[in-house]
């Protein structure tokens, strides 16, 4: 793989970091498109994240790719330098479609110009923020108030013009407990022709807030920007920090982290199954799944102190040592919940009114899932079986003693996604059982954790897919730049694929089968 990258980009350097090849490619602007195209098309890499750094109009862009055909390629960072107030960067989104939203975000927040990108403009900051305000730039004061303009409410650039066509707005405040997001559904009566999503109602400026804060305070942000997958994100963050500081964790810490990451995945997936049942108005099934979810939340609180596992991960290990016996008891209780989940799924499998709403609804083809770089259960339901736990093993996942596989389906419809959520949930219980049986003894944190300056990428397979946390820490232990690519951001990008050409009444069901979090997407 190393020689292959060398062929594409002469002068690249490869290092082995924690047993994983990491390749750095310096790239001139006119070569960027070619290098990215060959990395993805020839070597099978997939786009992970775009990291933009700016200091006094000196720009560094890092296009990070991961995987490779046989998943042995590790990570590749393609770096690009630029200077000037508004440098022009060639857009790669025509070649690597997964980078589309990353470029739109960087354009909106940094004021970079991506040449050749078909759709730039208001994205994260909505239309009431004047153009030319770029909060992620180093000269922007995070305590300042954003200026606001009084203008007429948002309208899409163009709408479908056929007889009988109309646009149906949904959100940002809608349904019972839906998170804030807006969708404009264009239709000629029954079928949705086009879905125009509008996110970032919940943009809290996470990446900007992190700048200049201490690492341990940024951990709180990493944990709380998406509360329902807090453990996965804090894990990715802690791993990035530990990699900078070259901390050697006692063996019990990665094992317990894996244990709780799987507990969180199980709880999250049960919640998604409850939402799917709710979207099809199957009241008893919704209640059954909600009872299981609440019991899992209580178990989290009983054994780890917090219902959403806040405060458990710290750089250097875990803040709490959960005893072997407690882990075994917890696994037993989770196992009995899993049994009831199996019963529930068995009943759902034979409820025709439920299946009719899911089967062949909201299908995503394998090619689309690959082009959009979809991640997590949604990609795996469309036959793109990629999982960071296997592709880039972290914590205890790479251990030979742990045997598991990423469940996948081929159809890509709502039912396939439901099955993936269910199978993954069951897999999580199995992983928890394996870990609880062979927990290494000892401490769960390093006795002393010294923060050093440096750069690192951390990752974790969050419940809804691959999460990447890129961090640069200054020598004084404060964060210089923090970049988060959550799975929901990646997957909402492809949501319109599933919702278009299906009927109006399928829309909430398709949304439920995606099981994504807007808070995670918007940051």
């Amino acid at each position: 793989m190393r020689s292959q990258i060398e062929r594409i980009a002469p002068g690249s350097e490869t290092f082995i970091c924690n047993g994983l090849p990491v390749t750095f490619v310096d790239c001139a602007p006119d070569e960027l498109q070619n290098v990215c195209e060959r990395l993805t098309a020839e070597l099978g890499y997939r786009f992970a994240t775009l990291v933009v750094e700016e200091a006094h109009c000196d720009w560094q862009l890092g296009y990070i790719f991961c995987g490779g055909h046989d998943l042995q390629g590790g990570l590749v960072r393609v770096s690009l330098k630029a200077s000037g107030a508004r440098p022009i960067i060639p857009s790669i989104s025509a070649i690597v479609h997964a980078a589309d939203w990353h470029e739109r975000e960087a354009e909106d927040l940094f004021g970079l110009v991506f040449e050749g990108h078909p759709k730039l403009g208001d994205f994260v900051l909505h239309e009431h923020t004047p153009e030319g305000i770029n909060p992620m730039r180093s000269d922007f004061d995070p305590a300042a108030e954003l200026p606001s303009e009084d203008i007429c409410p948002w309208r899409p650039g163009r709408i479908v013009q056929t007889p009988g066509a109309f646009a149906m707005p949904i959100g940002p405040v809608y349904s019972d407990f839906a998170e804030s997001a807006h969708f404009l559904l264009e239709t000629v009566g029954e079928d949705v022709i086009r879905v125009i999503p509008r996110f970032f109602y919940k943009y809290r400026g996470l990446e900007k807030l992190a700048e200049g804060r201490r690492v341990e305070d940024v951990l709180l942000l990493a944990e709380r920007f998406s509360g329902t997958s807090a453990f996965a994100h804090s894990l990715a963050f802690c791993q990035a920090v530990e990699s900078i500081c070259e901390a050697k964790l006692p063996a019990r810490a990665p094992a317990l982290r894996t244990f709780f990451a799987e507990l969180e995945r199980f709880r999250y997936h049960v919640g998604v199954i409850a939402d799917i049942c709710g979207s099809t108005a199957l009241a008893v099934a919704t209640s059954q799944a909600a009872i299981l979810e609440e019991e899992l939340l209580r178990l989290c609180c009983k054994y780890a102190g917090h219902r959403y596992l806040f405060g458990l991960n710290i750089p250097g290990g875990l803040s709490l040592n959960v005893e072997d016996e407690a882990c075994r008891v917890l696994t037993g209780e989770v196992g009995s919940i899993a049994k009831r989940l199996v019963d529930l799924m068995e009943m759902l499998r034979f409820s025709s009114s439920f299946l009719d709403r899911l089967e062949q609804v909201g299908a995503i083809a394998k090619k689309d899932a690959t082009d959009y770089g979809l991640v997590g259960p949604i990609a795996r339901a469309s036959g793109v079986v990629r999982d960071l736990r296997i592709a880039l093993p972290y914590a205890a996942y790479g251990k030979d003693s742990l045997s598991f596989s990423a469940p996948g389906e081929e159809e890509g419809d709502g039912y396939a996604r439901l099955r993936v959520f269910f199978n993954e949930a069951m897999q999580s219980v199995e992983i928890m059982r394996q870990i609880a049986e062979s927990l290494p003894p000892g401490e769960v944190r390093v006795p002393r954790f010294d923060i050093k300056g440096g750069v690192s990428l951390g990752w974790a397979e969050a419940p809804c897919g691959a999460a990447f946390h890129w961090i640069r820490v200054r020598n004084d232990g404060r964060v210089a730049r923090y970049r988060v690519t959550p799975p929901s951001f990646t997957n909402w990008h492809g949501f319109h694929l599933a919702a278009e050409n299906f009927a109006f009444q399928d829309f909430p069901i398709i949304m439920a089968t995606f099981g994504l979090s807007n808070a995670e997407c918007d940051r």
Binding site: P142, S180, L320
Partner: protein
């Protein structure tokens, strides 16, 4: 479809008995660091957050700012008492308003609630979801979730109020019929939490619309949210800052 009916009947009642009896199940609440006065004096929070280099120390000192980081109890500090419980809701500006509430007695067993997500992280929303689910089932109290603010008596706001949600939040508030009550739930909604005030977030809901009842927590557990709703209609006294009585403590 009869199998679902049987399944539901076989499952039996799962709802909490709160407020008729205190909930004793393990794990319903993460608890809070509390002193006898209910406040968390500066020296009791050894790990204030929100400090940004170059700006004055914005140390968090109040129980309303606690984000459940657990750093006080899990570090060497032994000055912090951790208390169980969940009846954390208090009335905003209780002194100014006295004991009079906007919603009269006719609302006390018939209340329609609309939740607004003003930038919450998802944990608060997940907890609010649970109050309408079987384990807590607010329907038994005569409380209902309504999809539109036009039918709502209570606006339950979570999140620090992001810049992009200010307009929808105000519009929803204006759409509500009077009398109306606003409940701010969660640390973010009270003070902006970790995210606000800043360029993209406000410092809590009260900067934008008048707030009547506040409930802290990160996130507030479902029972704390139910307590807030009960306080809003006068069925429960607000959090007094006192230690729980002996009988209550036994129950906890």
């Amino acid at each position: 479809m009869s199998k679902w009916v049987w399944k539901g009947l076989r499952t039996g009642k799962k709802s909490s008995h709160y407020p008729d009896a205190p909930e004793t199940a393990a794990g319903v609440s993460p608890g809070m660091p509390l002193t006898e006065t209910g406040a968390l004096p500066l020296e009791f929070c050894p790990f204030p957050v929100g400090e940004i280099e170059g700006s004055p120390d914005e140390s968090k000192t109040d129980i309303r700012d606690c984000v459940h980081c657990f750093r006080c109890v899990r570090s060497s500090s032994d000055r912090v008492k951790w208390q169980e419980g969940y009846e954390w809701a208090s009335e905003k500006d209780a002194d100014a308003k006295g004991h009079s509430r906007q919603l009269g007695a006719s609302f006390s067993h018939s209340l329609n609630i609309r939740m607004i997500d003003a930038g919450a992280c998802g944990a608060c929303i997940s907890e609010v979801k649970q109050i309408a689910k079987p384990c807590y089932s607010i329907h038994r109290l005569g409380f209902f979730i309504t999809p539109t603010p036009r039918h709502a008596d209570v606006l339950l706001v979570v999140g620090p109020v992001t810049d992009n949600m200010v307009f929808p939040l105000k519009k929803a508030y204006e759409a509500m019929p009077t009398p109306k009550v606003v409940v701010a739930a969660g640390t973010c909604a009270l003070t902006g939490g970790l995210f606000g005030p800043g360029f993209a977030c406000g410092a809590g809901v009260s900067d934008f619309i008048p707030v009547d009842v506040e409930v802290p927590g990160c996130p507030p557990p479902p029972l704390a949210i139910i307590h807030a709703l009960l306080v809003a209609v006068g069925r429960k006294p607000p959090f007094s800052g006192q230690k729980p009585s002996i009988s209550e403590r036994k129950a906890l």
